[in-house]
């Protein structure tokens, strides 16, 4: 039905009283997400949207509400700290929306998560939207539709663009996942592909990559060897000049590696058609699905 979330998901939002946190928490509630708690140190005892209790710490929130999933909206200097806190409190899934987190903060937190078997999505990501189940993050709920296509992306609005096209073409989604545009992220392309491959309700896959790194190449190898369902890809940044950071901290071609051409080549070599234009994804997918 979805990856990473299910009917037992109970969400706590860290930074629920902040500008972005409160806005998107409302959006999550509106979508019917089981948002059971919020955290803002010093605001413990308050109530968000007349129904969600706010706590000083995630540990308290987990203890009182049984939250098992955190969505983080705290500012960059405190984002990694929030991830430690969520993991330590026993959250199994942590979605860090915050953009601009220092890379070495993420390097440091990674083994802490691995030791505890905690999955992180992000940072610098739109989060996850499993149509009909839960919205964890900032993806617009209006563009999704329940269905069988799994989508994983390093982008935000480009993802929405593609999801919107899928929805308009009648291709619903099992889960739309934005893994984030930073160099060091919790859940990688590969992790997402593996999870989709293991999800009986996902019957086709859309990968939206971009320049920088080799996550797409690795996923392509894995798909060729292990994934049977139709897969279509798109790579943003074919015209990006080398050595320049294209918005995302991770979107940069360095030393001639991480180019869109390399990625396209690797994907096509693995039998995965790569759309030249975002709008071609739908038709390629329809063709793949026969």
């Amino acid at each position: 039905m979805a990856i990473f979330v299910n009917k037992d998901t109970r969400v706590v939002v860290q930074g629920i009283t902040g500008r972005d946190g409160s806005f998107h928490s409302q959006g999550m509630l509106d979508y019917g997400t089981p948002l059971v708690a919020g955290v803002t140190p010093g605001k413990g005892g308050q109530t968000f949207a007349d129904k969600v209790p706010v706590f000083d710490t995630v540990a308290q929130a987990v203890e009182e509400t049984g939250a098992n999933t955190s969505v983080i909206f705290v500012p960059p200097p405190f984002a990694a700290g929030a991830v430690y806190e969520a993991a330590d409190a026993g959250c199994e899934l942590v979605v860090c929306i915050t953009e601009g987190v220092p890379t070495l903060d993420m390097v440091a937190v990674m083994p802490y998560l691995q030791e505890r078997g905690v999955r992180l999505i992000g940072p610098n990501c739109p989060g996850l939207l499993a149509p009909g189940i839960a919205k964890l993050g900032i993806m617009p709920a209006s563009i999704v539709k329940e269905g069988k296509v799994g989508l994983v992306s390093r982008s935000g609005t480009l993802t929405y663009e593609v999801v919107w096209q899928l929805t308009n073409a009648g291709l619903g989604q099992s889960t739309c996942l934005g893994i984030g545009g930073d160099p060091v992220i919790g859940t990688t392309f590969m992790d997402a592909v593996q999870a989709f491959a293991a999800d009986p309700e996902t019957e086709a896959l859309v990968l939206i990559g971009e320049i920088g790194g080799d996550a797409e190449e690795k996923a392509a190898e894995y798909i060729q060897a292990n994934v049977d369902m139709p897969v279509v890809a798109f790579i943003a940044g074919r015209t990006a000049p080398p050595g320049k950071r294209m918005g995302h901290a991770g979107a940069i071609v360095t030393g001639g590696s991480g180019t869109a051409a390399d990625k396209t080549k690797a994907l096509e070599a693995a039998g995965i058609p790569v759309a030249e234009r975002a709008m071609d994804i739908v038709s390629l997918l329809q063709k793949q699905q026969g």
Binding site: H24, G27, P76, P77, G100, V101, P102, T103, L104, D105, M106, V107, A108, M110, P111, I138, P140, S142, I143, S153, S155, G156, T157, L158, T159, Y160, E161, W164, G181, D182, P183, V184, I211, G212, G213, D214, A215, K218, F234, A236, G237, R238, T239, A240, P241, K244, R245, M246, G247, H248, A249, G250, A251, G255, G256, A260, E276, R277, A278, M279
Partner: protein, 379 residues
């Protein structure tokens, strides 16, 4: 953010790496004065935020004061890969017996700081990686433990198996580079070459450090390391306005919300035979001020003949965004046509708003791009 060699040397020196003395000069006269102070022979080295200085003639050995004067005069003002050299570093020339490459970067795969080092120093590591990949020693540093002594010595011994003293020096240098890397919130740190003199003394002869832009808030003092003069003026303005912007050579100015969509938009301009003038992510808000700043920066480029807004409304309602664009464009005297594509929540209302303006509406990204290219071509 990239910093100059002389600034990187300071960072390394602060963390205990052996760095020869040296000072920067912005004129031949000053270079001569420094050389006299340091004593001959010296190296005069272009301080420029790009590689390939040596090949371009930006690094010179000077045996005499006349050499210093001549070389400094030639190098200051020199153009290296479109970067103008404004300063030279004057530093004692040392007696090089052996050269090594010592570097670290954040590795996406392992999620760790990754050591790359090679006994083939003085060459670009990318070249070594291509020609002789097994000459590169790799190690991913566990952030919980840092670069442990035995790991450092093990790397040192791989680089120099026959001399424990030099192996220890190399290992210790790597530990100090790592300390500097973490303290500075670097994304890349390189010493190329690390050298041994004929007497066996280890020295960091070059220094390259890139800083993580996301971590600059922790290092307010680094702001003064920024070389504003070497930045593209429009990129500097964009940075100061908190916009992600990259200048390109083209005639279609692009304003997009979101980095991925911005790249896809550029790609689509190219796909339809046009040339994007820039990458620009205006972020998630419909804040007119941000749009004004973005437009102002793009319009400084005389090559820009049409402007393309590609906005996926998403959470933000499209009619709000449309109002922001209308307000922003109203504040400026814009002579080029503007194509606006708005999709998502309240898309219809947005299009109705645009109908009363000079702005050219478009329903899809493809349509918008094609219209913008056409309008730019007609200009």
């Amino acid at each position: 953010m990239n910093i100059h060699e002389y600034q990187g040397r300071d960072v390394f020196r602060q963390h205990g790496l052996p760095v020869p003395p040296g000072k920067v000069a912005d004129s031949a006269d000053k270079a001569v004065a420094i050389a006299k102070e340091l004593g001959l022979p010296v190296m005069v080295k272009a301080q420029v935020l790009t590689g390939g200085r040596g090949k371009a003639g930006g690094v010179k050995f000077c045996a005499t004061i006349e050499d210093v004067e001549e070389n400094a005069r030639n190098i200051v003002g020199m153009d290296i890969k479109s970067h103008t050299v404004r300063k030279v570093l004057v530093t004692p020339a040392v007696d090089i017996a052996e050269e090594f490459y010592l570097g670290m970067l954040v590795d996406r795969r392992s999620g760790r700081v990754h050591v790359m080092a090679s006994a083939e120093g003085g060459v670009e590591i990318e070249q070594v990686a291509k020609d002789n990949p097994e000459a590169i020693v790799h190690h991913a540093i566990d952030p919980r433990y840092g670069l442990l002594d035995h790991e450092a010595l093990g790397l040192g011994l791989k680089l120099y198996p026959t001399d424990i003293k030099k192996a220890r020096q190399l290992g210790s240098a790597l530990q100090k580079i790592y300390t500097a890397f973490v303290a500075a919130d670097a994304s890349l740190a390189e010493i190329n070459p690390w050298i041994f003199t004929t007497k066996g003394e280890g020295l960091a002869i070059d220094a390259k450090i890139n800083l993580d832009d996301n971590a600059l808030f922790r290092h307010p003092n680094y702001e003064e390391l920024r070389d504003r003069l070497s930045e593209d003026p429009s990129e500097r303005q964009a940075r100061e306005a908190d916009l992600s912007f990259v200048k390109l050579q083209g005639n279609v100015g692009c304003l997009v919300n979101g980095a991925g969509l911005a790249m896809a938009t550029m790609d689509l301009v190219k796909y339809y035979g046009g040339q994007p003038a820039n990458f620009l992510d205006i972020g998630g808000s419909s804040n007119p001020e941000k749009v004004v700043n973005a437009l102002r920066i793009i319009l400084q480029d005389d090559e820009v003949k049409a402007i393309l807004f590609n906005i996926f409304g998403g959470i933000t309602r499209c009619d709000d965004v449309a109002r922001g664009i209308i307000e922003a464009t109203g504040q400026l005297d814009i002579k080029v046509p503007i194509v606006v594509r708005l999709t998502g929540t309240n898309e219809e209302e947005a299009r109705a708003l645009l109908a009363g303006t000079d702005l050219v509406p478009a329903a899809t990204m493809d349509e918008a791009v094609q219209k913008a290219i056409e309008l730019a071509g007609n200009a």
